[in-house]
Structure formats: C-alpha cells, structure tokens
Symmetry: C2
DNA sequence: GCATTATTGATAGTAATACTATTACTTTTG
DNA sequence: CAAAAGTAATAGTATTACTATCAATAATGC
C-alpha cells in the first residue's frame, strides 16, 4: 500500500466500516468492481459478491449498508482520484488555457492503466463510472443524499475546472454547466460508441471525444 | 381519442398487447406514469400499479413483459411524440438556421401542458424522461435491444436534427455527437437544477438551459 | 340470440432479492 | 494471555418479479 490512499478521501458516511482498512474490505472493493463490470449493477448482489470472495453476505453488510451505498462509495472514490490526477497535471502550469485543456483531456480521454492502489482497478472502475455512475444519483433520495455530502467529490472536480475557466473568462455565465456537460457528455459518448454508435460520429482517428469537447469549451470562451 | 396516436408509433416488440387498444391498457399507461413520477422507477412495481388501477398484477403482465419494457415503451413514445413536435415546428420554414434553433428549443425547453392524447400526461412523462430514461438503455442488454430497434425513435430524433445541422455546415464532423450531447445535457442540467444545483448555473432569468445549448450549437457551426 | 373467443379477475405459488439477527470461531492487540 | 474486534455460518423474513390456472365477463361473428 502506498501513500495515495490518504490523498483520496471519501465521505465517512458512505461506509459502515472503512473498506480500505482490512483485507476483507479490500477484497470487497476489488471484486465488486469486477463483478459489477461483468454482470451490471442491476444483477449485482451482495450474495453473488459473497460467493466471489468466499465470504457470507452478512460480512459485506458490515462494510456497506447496501449495494447503492457501495456504488456511491466507488463513484466518490473515482472523482477523488480524478481530482488528484487533475491537480497533478495542472500545478505549476502558468497558462490557464493549458491547464483547462489538460483538465478536459483527463475528464474525456479513455482510462489508462494505473496501479496507484492495489485494491482498485482504475480501468474497470472507469468503465463502471461510464455505464453505472448516473444510477448513484438518479434515485428518489438524491436531495437527502446530496445534503449529506455524498456527491462532494464530484462537485469538487466540477468546481475546480470551472474555476480555471473563470480565470480565462472571468464573467462567463455558465462555467458549471459547461464542465458538467463535458463530463456527463463524454461518458454518454463513450457509452454510445460501444452500444448505440449511430448516436455518435465515430471515426478511425483517435480521441474524437476529447477533441470534440475541447473544441466545445474553447469555442465558448473565445 | 384523436388521430395523433396513428402518428406516434412505437416498435411492436416493446409490448405484449397494444396498451392503447383497451381501457385497461390506457389505465396502465396513465397510472404508471403517475406512479413512476411519484415513487421512482426503482420502487415502482407491477404489484403497486395493480393496486393503483384496481387490477391484479397478472393483468398488467399481459401488456408488458416487465417494468423495464414499460419504461422502454414510454421512452420510445416520448421520442416519437417529440419528433412530431419538431416536424410540426420546422415544416415550411425555409431557413435551416431557424429550423435548428426551433428544434433545439423543443429539445431543451421545459415541458408544456399538452393534451394531445388522453392516456398520456406529457408533462409528467417529460419529468420521467429526465430522471429515469437513461435507465432504459443503461442495462446489460443494450446491444441486443438496440439490434431489435428498441431505441429507434430516439435515434430518429437525433438524426433529424443532425441533418438540419449538416444543411448549414455540410462537412461538420460531429453532428450526432453535438445533438445527443444537447439532448442528454439538457436533461442532466434540468435534473441538476432540481437536485444538485451547484453543478449548474441557475439564474433568475428564464430559459438558461435553452440559451446555453443554443449558444453551444451556434458556436460550433459558425 | 347464442356460441365462440378474447379479455379480465382472482388466487396461488416459486425462486430470488435485500436484508436482519444470532452464535460461534478466529485473529489482533494491549 | 485475556479482552476486544473481526469474520464465518446459519437461519429467517418481507418483498420482488414473475408464472400458472381457472372462473367470470364482455365483445363479436354467424
């Protein structure tokens, strides 16, 4: 284990017992990501996860209240990790415009191999975020959960990048709308590219999605 | 009943028995929309719907294979209805740019009172589409369901508006990406405005979302 | 007007899901 | 080495997501 896990923080209300603190907890994180990716969030159950990690489901319930909270945890972890990537890539870069394109690149590019933490497979987690993360906040309890700060890491990313935008164009009216549109939009486009391609414009050249959203942002601020 | 229901068509594979053809079927449509809006799609069950319309759940299963198919049906109906609105608003308008802004307006503006069909409450249906429709295609069976044409009406709307874009800028690289980004984006922004407002830029003036996405599209084609 | 057929109602039943509870065993750690 | 913490094993409940059967009723064809 390295020191990255102190940098990546999630709201303590998201779990019953901190999953990073024990072997079982880490196994839960590792295997749940694989299993959700494999069978989808709807079909995913703590029972099946228990079989996969050879532990009774009741043990998993000691870490997470239910599968919804596990998804919120994973999503929150992802955004905290993403913010860290953005911070790394933008500190000491003087040009705000360069910082902006760098941040957009991180938000829209395909996930890369990364072994920062042993109990999280970032590539699979990125896949889950693309196809399942909307389910973490499209629920009847959003308002309550938002109040409790469940989506704080997501908001933090949006506001951080919005602030760069405002450095470039101080009186821009829609910084948060633009950034959240880019984030959600790039997820949708990646999903569509894999499953409903006629809703996109896939080409043979790479990074179409990144190019599109970078252009969109730059068009807006010029 | 008026003749609009012949204009609004959905794929026949979406239902077991055509719900518009009988009183019970129409009650199912009407009440399911109310109930999904009220308790959310996760908590919605055919059992609860049966209680609401005073029919056994087994009768509902004769119309729809399961609640997922009901959601796909409602979503498909919504896009067919939306396409009809776009057609109405753009026929005989010579200027492609005017047709584009009109179409974007329809796609991004708040839902309006409309009593075109007695068994569908369009305002409530719009609310459901905003908060639940992603769940109709974010499943493990997307690929299969896409092949069967379950999402045809949605694609049709996107392609229709993309074509207007291409009239204005014939070699534009990303027409579908831009339009699907606007559609999904405006839904997200409406949802965020109600539930996670700090991800948006809400102001006192009206039509912020429409303005934002219109500006986005026009920025791209100039 | 009556038989056939389609449609709905009523009831029952099953496997899986989403949990909660209890007790016993095994590690840590102080 | 004892106390505490963590985990396993098992059992049990209410709800969900269906399927099946049969009776009652309404619509339609002749």
């Amino acid at each position: 284990m390295n020191n990255l896990n102190i940098l990546i923080e999630v709201n303590q209300d998201l779990y019953c017992k901190e999953p990073t603190s024990s072997e079982l907890g880490q196994k839960i994180l590792l295997k749940s990501i694989e299993l959700i990716d494999e069978i989808g969030f709807e079909a995913f159950t703590f029972k099946k996860l228990g079989v996969a990690i050879n532990s009774p489901e009741s043990s998993i319930y000691r870490y997470f209240k239910n599968k919804h909270m596990l998804l919120v945890y994973l999503t929150s972890w992802y955004w905290s990790w993403t913010e860290y990537q953005i911070v790394l890539a933008t500190t000491n870069v003087a040009s705000a415009k360069k910082r902006l394109t760098k941040a957009i690149s991180i938000l829209t590019r395909p996930a890369m191999e990364n072994t920062s933490v042993p109990y999280i497979n970032e590539v699979l987690l990125s896949k889950i975020i693309i196809s399942e993360s909307i389910k973490s906040y499209h629920t009847k309890n959003v308002d309550e959960e938002n109040k409790k700060g469940y989506f704080a890491t997501y908001k933090s990313v949006v506001h951080r990048v919005s602030d760069i935008l405002l450095e470039i164009k101080p009186h821009f009216e829609f910084p948060n709308m633009l950034i959240s549109t880019i984030i959600e939009g790039s997820h949708h486009q990646k999903y569509f590219a894999s499953h409903i391609p006629s809703l996109t414009d896939i080409t043979t050249k790479k990074n179409t999605i990144e190019q599109f959203y970078t252009k969109m942002a730059l068009n807006f601020i010029k």
